[in-house]
Amino acid sequence: MSNTEMDKLISALAVDLAPVQRLRPPAVRLAVWVFFALPISLLLGALVESQNIQLAADRLQDPRMLVELIAILATALSAGYAALCCVQPGRSRFAWTLPIVPFLTWLALIGESCWTLWQNVGGQISFAPHWVCVPAVISTGAVPTVLIVMMIRRGAVLNAPLTVMLTTLAASALGAVGLRLFHQPDAVALVFMWQLIATFMFFVISGLAAAYMQNRAA
């Protein structure tokens, strides 16, 4: 392309230039996400698992459970911040490392829970799909997922694999806060797996729907 043609392209881009609404900093967007998504997720979790309200209150008294909830919340916040940084070019390239420590802590606690469960039931753990968990997973995970996907799509998805991974982790973790509080079964690894699958499916479906709508609009 010659310089003249490049000049034409620049003129075409600059003519009738519409003002744009600037994307707010990732920390502000993260606060907005948590402010709306967490209470709604907890409320829906409490509604769907209303028989376990007392269980949730008891779990909040358990110091080990509190540590786990803090690790889950820290994973959600750090992964959410990193995902939002990912879609704003020029932000730190190393933000993706933030969720590593909280996520490993969370995984270690899951591992410890699974080990305890294994010792208690003596190898009777079933890895078949637990459909009974699906309503709880959807009720706690849907709103954090929908909101963060909307926020991510407002940015510039330049590194799609990393963005999808961080977004999926953030949404799964925020949904897992309510799930861990209100859901009765204690097979946390299975529940976490369901949470990840549900969030990832939703992200893929929303991406396909967006591509379809873009084509329709064109």
Binding site: M1, E5, M6, D7, K8, L9, I10, S11, A12, L13, A14, V15, D16, L17, A18, P19, V20, Q21, R22, L23, P25, V87, Q88, P89, G90, R91, G155, A156, L158, N159, Q214, N215, A218
Partner: protein
């Protein structure tokens, strides 16, 4: 590129975000050498590099709302440019892995009409048939086929010429070719 340049770019971008087209044109013209430098550092083919520079400018345009004026402009531009270069190189490598170079096109049928490679895929139809079929297409599809296939324009050039978006052109092209195929077959 001096520190003063960088500061000026940040100011021009902030003005562009508020809808100032002149500031935007000045900014794109000013950053063009830097974008070319980033792209040509990774792509040696001059023609291909220019196409990628164009892609970078379109990405800058599409994502201009993501720039935060309180931060330096150069890292924002650099991130977009390097990611677009990586995307284009990945596309090239993917396409090359699927392509087989041949000295001569294999003959599919012995009839002359089926082996007229000069005119491309649309040569299977006589020009009269093609003209009639083109005339029956909806305006958007006809424009897309004429610009992209008959005048051999790139998607970006066709988008500027037709005032249609690149995705719209792609969709219109796809539908137009399908409709043409049907019209020519009947």
């Amino acid at each position: 590129m001096t520190a003063e340049d960088k500061e000026q770019w940040a100011g021009l971008m902030a003005q562009a975000q508020d809808g100032d087209g002149d500031a935007y044109a000045r900014l794109l013209t000013a950053v063009l050498p830097k974008v070319r430098q980033i792209v040509r550092h990774r792509i040696s083919d001059v023609q291909f590099a220019e196409d990628v520079v164009q892609e970078v400018l379109l990405s800058v345009h599409a994502n201009r709302h993501t720039y935060d004026p309180s931060l330096p402009f150069a890292p924002w531009l650099y991130t977009i440019a390097t990611r677009r270069v990586a995307d284009q190189l990945r596309k090239i490598y993917r396409n090359r892995s699927r392509e087989i170079l041949v000295d001569e096109y294999p003959e599919t049928f012995t009839g002359e009409g089926t082996n007229d490679y000069e005119e491309g895929a649309l040569a299977y139809a006589t020009s009269d048939t093609l003209k009639k079929a083109l005339a029956q297409l909806p305006k958007g599809q006809r424009t897309a086929v004429e610009l992209l296939k008959l005048r051999d324009m790139s998607l970006k050039e066709a988008a500027i010429e037709s005032s249609m978006s690149v995705p719209a052109l792609k969709v219109a092209m796809h539908r137009g070719l399908k409709a043409l195929q049907k019209l020519i077959d009947t």
